[in-house]
Symmetry: C2
Subunit: 203 residues, 2 copies
């Protein structure tokens, strides 16, 4: 297909496709004349992944390039790279008590405790904030969250691992994780409202 | 207690307490001399709530004032006001297909569909983005999220409703909801990592 068709099929503007080509995020097409190139299914799949990484995941062009290098090298670290890249790391002061609480909570839940993991940093920041606000045992209420998240994560990973190409797996990781965060937050709010109404009785 | 003790007990700087007093978010203390006032447990509870609404919930001073007016009028709408106030509403273009998908998904899950609710707007925005990215049935994967969020919400509401003062209930709503969002997102990431490892076998 020509660049116009690649654009209409993917929904990505021609100018954006040209930018990705210049940045080396998309391999050049097969030249059929001096200024015309043909693109195929491989380009389409790669384009969909790049858009997900950039637009949905908010990854920098440099990080996207690293991810694609890992994909091309069939490096199994690509999923981890994407996963870490889409997890915001909050800026926090060191807090030994919060660190200790996170570590024992995760161990108790059977979840991995890796101090450098962005998600671990994020959890420690939450615990530190709760402590500052006078809630020294915030993780006591998180056991039900850990169980619920394990169920969600099983379904998430089952779904993306079913894809046959590594591009589709990674696209699924980004879209499912980032959009899934927002969906999960919204659904919790709606479930809370319903529960407040139930516990407050008929109005 | 004097303002200095109110500050050290609450962990809120004296200058911030004075700002809240000027803005009418905290009732003035009982004057014991021309320039000295005494504060009590009621001030402390109110101060803790104001700080949670402003610092954790990110509510504007005007919204905090409305919430406190509702608290003082024993208006049962205060929880809903706080809940709506801490839910970000994304700016989105109208999307009839996404709206329809959200409505039938929520109905199927037994969750309330209220078009103007900020959480509903947020869910519609997620569905619209997924559609634009070529995932026309994103809600198919959200059933497990809805179940998990219902369990979390039950525990959340049970916990905050146990408080006896409305200030403590509202403080619990803000802290539990906002910090709970971040904790839930972090725990899902960690559970996903563990599940990726499990499904990929020993490395």
């Amino acid at each position: 297909m020509r660049i116009g068709e690649l654009s209409s099929t993917s929904g990505v503007p021609v100018s954006t496709i040209k930018y990705y080509l210049r940045e080396g995020l998309l391999p050049t097409g097969r030249l059929t004349s001096a200024n015309q190139a043909q693109y195929d299914e491989h380009h389409l799949r790669r384009l969909t992944l790049v858009r997900a990484l950039v637009d949905v995941g908010g990854l920098s062009i440099a990080t996207v390039r690293e991810v694609l290098d890992a994909v091309d090298a069939s490096d199994s670290g690509a999923v981890r790279m994407v996963h870490d890249g889409i997890t915001a790391v909050p800026a926090t002061d060191p807090d030994a008590a919060a660190e200790q609480e996170a570590s024992s909570f995760l161990t108790r839940c059977g979840l991995p405790y890796e101090p450098d993991n962005p998600a671990t940093r994020s959890l420690v920041a939450v615990i530190a904030t709760a402590r500052r606000l006078g809630h020294p045992h915030f993780t006591d209420q998180l056991g039900v969250y850990a169980d619920a998240c394990r169920r969600i994560a099983e379904a998430d990973v089952d779904r993306v691992m079913r894809h046959s190409s590594v591009e589709d797996v990674l696209e699924g990781v980004v879209v499912g994780t980032v959009l899934g965060d927002a969906a999960m937050v919204a659904l919790r709010r709606l479930a809370q409202l319903q529960e407040y109404r139930r516990q407050s009785g008929p109005r």
